[in-house]
């Protein structure tokens, strides 16, 4: 690791400055994904930024607006209302949840054996927006856009309006260290619109617009959902299995939402 430059910024401004346009920079938040990459030689950073002291942790509320700092540990989200709370509680085990961060979860690329980034689905369902620094300066954009193009962006925080109701339905995990093969998050905004998102699919979590259009009818919405996602095909579950399961999870999440 000769010539390695490790920076430990002590404010968000310093973090943004250290990140620059992100070229050749390895960001380390909780490190639960990055460290093994380094240990096993799949990643050889030349410049790394440790975010632990960057002042990006914590959940704040302004009326119904909730803002979650990028380095807030996943465990701090477990008490939030559905879909975020139950989704966060379903990530890894209690010790990893205390170390892994929201930012790392949203920025997690697809893994070699499983899709990761469970919180992407829950935060899409509440219509979250993210604030980032990096190339092109500070930006606020919908989480959907960010997930589609994360290059050159340092995530600072994610915020959303507390939904009127939320629900989370997922496949069970055989062990706390298994990733979730498929999970559906649903939320009804104060204005009555329903958003649905699925995690565990190829690439990153996505919204389910065809199912959203039929949200009043859980059965029909489930049937419509399949066309909205490209399924991952990996060691956790085949694409076929995920395809068969999605309608069921959509139906369960919407039924929960109706009862909420």
């Amino acid at each position: 690791m000769t010539g390695l430059d490790v920076l430990v910024p002590s404010s968000p401004e310093e973090a943004v400055a250290a990140y620059g346009d992100g070229d050749g920079v390895t960001v380390i938040a909780g490190g639960t994904i990055v460290l093994p990459e380094i240990t096993y030689g799949r990643l050889r950073p030349s410049k790394a930024i440790l975010l632990k002291d960057a002042g990006l942790a914590g959940i704040t509320r302004d009326g119904s607006r909730v803002t979650i700092g990028a380095t807030t540990p996943v465990v701090e989200l477990t008490e939030l209302p559905a879909p975020i709370g139950p989704c966060a509680a379903n990530v890894a085990d209690s010790e990893i949840r205390a170390q892994g961060t929201v930012g790392g979860n949203l920025c997690a690329g697809i893994g070699p054996e499983a899709p990761r980034g469970d919180l992407q689905g829950a935060l899409l369902a509440v219509g979250a927006t993210v604030r980032t620094g990096g190339s092109g300066g500070e930006k606020t954009q919908p989480l959907e856009e960010f997930l589609a193009d994360r290059e050159g962006k340092l995530l600072l925080d994610v915020s959303y309006d507390e939904p009127a109701a939320g629900a989370f339905a997922s496949l069970d995990r055989p062990h706390t260290h298994d990733y979730t093969a498929l999970a559906v998050s649903a939320a009804r905004a104060e204005d009555g619109t329903t958003r649905l998102a699925v995690s565990g699919v190829a690439g990153h979590a996505v919204r389910l617009p065809s199912a959203e259009a039929k949200a009043d009818n859980p059965q029909a919405a489930g049937e419509a959902a399949a066309g909205d996602a490209t399924f991952a095909d990996d060691a956790l579950a085949s694409a076929w299995y995920r395809g068969q399961t999605l309608p069921v999870l959509v139906r369960r999440a919407l039924t929960q939402l109706q009862e909420a």
């Binding site: 390695l4 490790v6 209690s94």
Partner: protein, 174 residues
């Protein structure tokens, strides 16, 4: 960089992104945190970082610069075991021992944070720790006993002179 390991301050020479696990095992020669999966999935490397149970394989040493690290050696010594170490000993909660230091650290943190001792909460706490000898029932028994105050720290676990050893061990001190 500096770490306080089991109460002793140590200067650290390893490269900043070296996992804390290797710093402990290779630079400092403390081998109780085990190198199992080295990717967060087994719990064998768990140590206390400022009192919180953390995976030493997932932490760059630079991320814990200045922290207090506790390994099982810091929980108690053979002649003065902590409550959780005594409980593991009395309940036969170690077989090959590979998972034991991680289990002890996690269980210690659980007790320190006021863990209720209900089996479900112990299972939840230890759910990230793999015991390849499958000694889970005894491990949970031990944590429950320690949480219930049934077992407290013990000054001497080796048979005292004149006290009969429960098992005949050839060559053991009489």
């Amino acid at each position: 960089m500096r770490l306080t390991v089991n109460g002793i301050e140590r200067g650290i020479e390893s490269a900043p992104l070296t996992p804390l696990l290797y710093v402990l095992r290779e630079e400092l020669g403390i081998t109780s945190p085990k190198a199992g999966c080295q990717q967060g999935g087994c719990g064998a490397c768990t140590v206390l970082v400022d009192g919180e149970a953390r995976r030493a394989c997932l932490l760059a040493v630079a991320a814990v610069d200045g922290a207090e690290i506790t390994t099982v050696e810091g929980l108690g010594a053979p002649e003065a075991l902590s409550a959780i170490q005594t409980a593991f000993h009395e309940h036969y909660a170690a077989q090959c021992g590979f998972c034991t230091s991680g289990m002890l650290i996690a269980a210690h943190a659980y007790l320190e944070h006021g863990g209720s001792g209900e089996r479900e909460s112990i299972q939840e706490t230890l759910s990230g720790h793999v015991c390849r000898c499958t000694g889970y029932v005894k491990i949970i028994d031990a944590v429950a006993a320690a949480a219930g105050g049934e077992i407290t720290s013990r000054q001497k676990w080796l048979p005292q002179t004149g006290e009969e050893s429960p098992v005949e061990v050839p060559g053991a001190p009489a």
